[in-house]
């Protein structure tokens, strides 16, 4: 048999039908659903009299719109339109008999945090969701990607997706990371190197010592942003860390099924002589703590750098950089560490897990914030509970952070958590697009530790100067 990549292996195990031109019908093992991209899909089913084909493989949770302030079970807390969307999801989950974690359930949270936490995401699976950051689940060696609402409807009705195979890209991070450098810095640095369109047409497999050394949570951070590099999905081959993470989760296999699953899961790695259409290699030692300066995730620089000038770029990027700098209110040559911050947001499906909160709490412990507003929004109710048990919540509150309930919150600002025009935010989320965190709001992306450092000083800060 010819050598295969991990992507090839998962793909092959899920092809239901292949047409002559290579268009495939791919079976979907897990379908995650949230309130924003699903109402029209359920509506479509109703209009055509179709059912959900595999309700036991379909899991829904409201996250994008929900308020993250106490008392939110009271629907009056929500703006009318958000309330309608959440109510529609409640209704659809009930009518179609799918798994559901309502706002009142402690397991509710951001869909990409809930899936792995509950053991819905397992190695070798195909996972889709009407959300581009579905790539997160690739950390388990699952083929996971975002789909549009028409495709949500297609998966609901048929449990399959019409797909053509992407190309294989290997992204290798060799060696060790330096102190203060995290999974977020890896994933931003990769995008900085390849550009936001660099992965278009590819599925990425991340590998190398620095990736192996990451925890499962760090790996989720890396895969989460594969989409920001344009890739359809990001994958990491499962290993002992993966199995240990999965073992014992509510929906993970048990007993004899666990053994059978392990037998297959252990084969889920790219063969040594597998073919790659593109290879990108970064040295772990060369990666610094980074921040973004512009309005595209590819606008990445080490925190020790200065704001670039439009002339530093080529082609269409010159005009884009000019527009970015204008939008961000920055001057070429300005030191990144001189950029003042008034808001800090720690959360999102990129960095809203317990290790992220621990990393941020370690920096702020016993200190006070110097920004106008700082908030921590745990990625799920369970992350929140654990952080409270570990005393992290108290550390944040004493430092002056708001301690919120689980949801997407200021990652995309669909709920009331928004930046005012001109406000500048150090954020652990994944998109710095214009208006993403609020009309005319300005976003700098970074790791939780770096965001915590910025909260303490009131400007972008090299976390290594705080930790020494």
């Amino acid at each position: 048999m010819s050598p295969k990549t991990l992507y090839d292996k998962i793909w092959d195990a899920h092809v239901v039908h292949e047409a002559e031109d290579g268009t495939c019908l791919l079976y979907i093992d897990r379908h995650l659903v949230h309130e924003v991209t699903s109402p029209q899909a359920f509506e479509g089913l109703r209009m055509t009299g179709r059912k959900v084909r595999a309700p036991d493989k379909t899991i829904a949770v409201p996250d994008h719109n929900v308020p993250t302030t106490p008392g939110r079970e009271n629907p009056d807390q929500m703006p009318e339109e958000s309330r309608i969307q959440v109510a529609a999801l409640d209704q659809n989950a009930r009518d179609f008999g799918i798994h559901y974690y309502p706002v009142s359930d402690i397991r509710q949270g951001i869909v990409h945090i809930v899936g792995p936490e509950q053991g819905w995401t397992l190695p070798g699976m195909t996972v889709v969701c009407g959300d581009s950051h579905t790539a997160t689940h690739g950390a388990f060696g699952a083929l996971a990607h975002g789909i549009g609402t028409s495709e949500v409807e297609h998966v609901l009705a048929t449990q399959t997706l019409i797909q053509k195979k992407s190309k294989n890209m290997k992204v290798e991070i060799t060696g060790k990371l330096r102190p203060g450098v995290t999974a977020k810095d890896i994933t931003l640095s990769v995008i900085g190197a390849t550009g936001t369109a660099g992965g278009t047409g590819y599925v990425i497999e991340y590998c190398g010592e620095a990736i192996r050394d990451l925890s499962m949570e760090g790996r989720m951070t890396v895969c989460n942003m594969a989409i920001e590099g344009g890739a359809r999905a990001g994958l990491i081959a499962p290993d002992e860390k993966t199995f240990a993470y999965v073992n014992g989760r509510p929906h993970a296999p048990k007993g004899a099924q666990w053994e059978a699953a392990m037998t297959w899961w252990k084969t889920l790695r790219s063969d040594d002589d597998a073919h790659w259409d593109k290879v990108v290699t970064l040295k772990g030692e060369d990666i610094s703590p980074v921040v973004t300066w512009g309005t595209s995730p590819e606008d990445v620089l080490p925190i020790t750098g200065v704001v670039p000038a439009p002339e530093d770029f080529k082609g269409g990027k010159v005009e884009a950089a000019r527009r970015s700098l204008d939008y961000m209110g920055l001057t070429p040559g300005q030191k990144l560490t001189d950029i003042e911050i008034d808001t800090v947001f720690i959360g999102s499906c990129t960095n809203g897990r317990i290790e992220d909160l621990r990393a941020a709490a370690e920096i702020v412990k016993g200190k006070k914030i110097k920004v106008k507003r700082a908030m921590v929004v745990p990625g799920s109710g369970l992350v929140r509970a654990q952080a409270e048990e570990e005393g992290l919540a108290d550390i944040f509150k004493e430092a002056g952070f708001e301690w919120r309930l689980a949801g997407c919150s200021m990652c995309l600002a669909m709920n009331p958590d928004q930046l005012a025009p001109g406000e500048r935010c150090a954020a652990t989320s994944n998109r710095n697009f214009e208006g993403r965190q609020g009309y005319k709001g300005r976003t700098h992306l970074m790791s939780p530790a770096m965001a915590a450092a910025a909260a303490l000083t009131g400007h972008l800060t090299d976390v290594r100067r705080i930790t020494g």
Binding site: T158, Q159, R323, M414
Partner: protein, 201 residues
């Protein structure tokens, strides 16, 4: 879905790279539970000021582009979120084709599900068509999906590639779900085999 007919229309230039889905349709408009009515909010934050007045400089606000059916854009159009609201808004405005050197993957797929044709052409071709689109309503571009060509107002013809299955569906206005439902037996067989091989799924 509507069939994609041969199109002769005005093209609007948007010479920016990385036009993301947040620009195409900002999130405050994602709260709808319908597919229609998003056209007025297409490119909302570029098109209107805070008080809801039109920004006169924005291309789609200029009289000569109000009837545009084609957009010519910079690299990596549609990057960002999976929101199908982006193609819904384009379609509702009246856009039927977008021309660029590259598109983000999910957006690209979403277009086909909504009868919009995303056309990938090399940089030189996009440059020519970008110039052509600057002529406004004096010029008409022709998009012929059957022949896989775009013709500039000067008669210059550019051939583009398109996936044969997607082309077939678009030309005939076929609904994917209906097509897949015809393969229900194959899905049943697959499911039966998979539940033996991977019973934990």
């Amino acid at each position: 879905m509507e069939k994609f007919e041969k199109l002769t229309g005005i093209a609007a230039p948007l010479p920016l790279v990385n036009i993301d889905t947040d620009m195409i349709i900002p999130k405050q408009f994602l709260k709808t539970i319908k597919r229609s009515g998003l056209g007025v909010n297409l490119f909302d934050e570029m098109r209107y000021d805070r008080d809801g007045n039109e920004v006169p400089d924005f291309v789609l606000n200029k009289p000569q582009y109000r009837q545009a059916q084609i957009i010519v854009a910079g690299d990596n159009f549609g990057c960002g979120s999976s929101r199908e609201h982006a193609p819904w808004a384009l379609k509702d405005f009246g856009i039927k084709a977008v021309i660029s050197t590259s598109f983000a993957d999910i957006f690209f797929n979403n277009c086909f599900k909504n009868g919009i044709l995303p056309i990938v052409l090399p940089q030189e071709a996009v440059d020519v068509l970008m110039k052509d689109s600057e002529k406004g309503s004096n010029a008409r571009m022709i998009v012929d999906l059957e022949a896989q060509t775009v013709t500039s107002s000067d008669g210059e013809v550019f051939h583009f590639e398109v996936d044969s299955f997607k082309k077939h569906c678009l030309l005939n206005g076929l609904d994917d779900i209906g097509l897949t439902m015809e393969k229900a037996a194959a899905i049943d067989t697959f499911e039966a085999q998979a539940s033996q091989a991977r019973p934990w799924v």
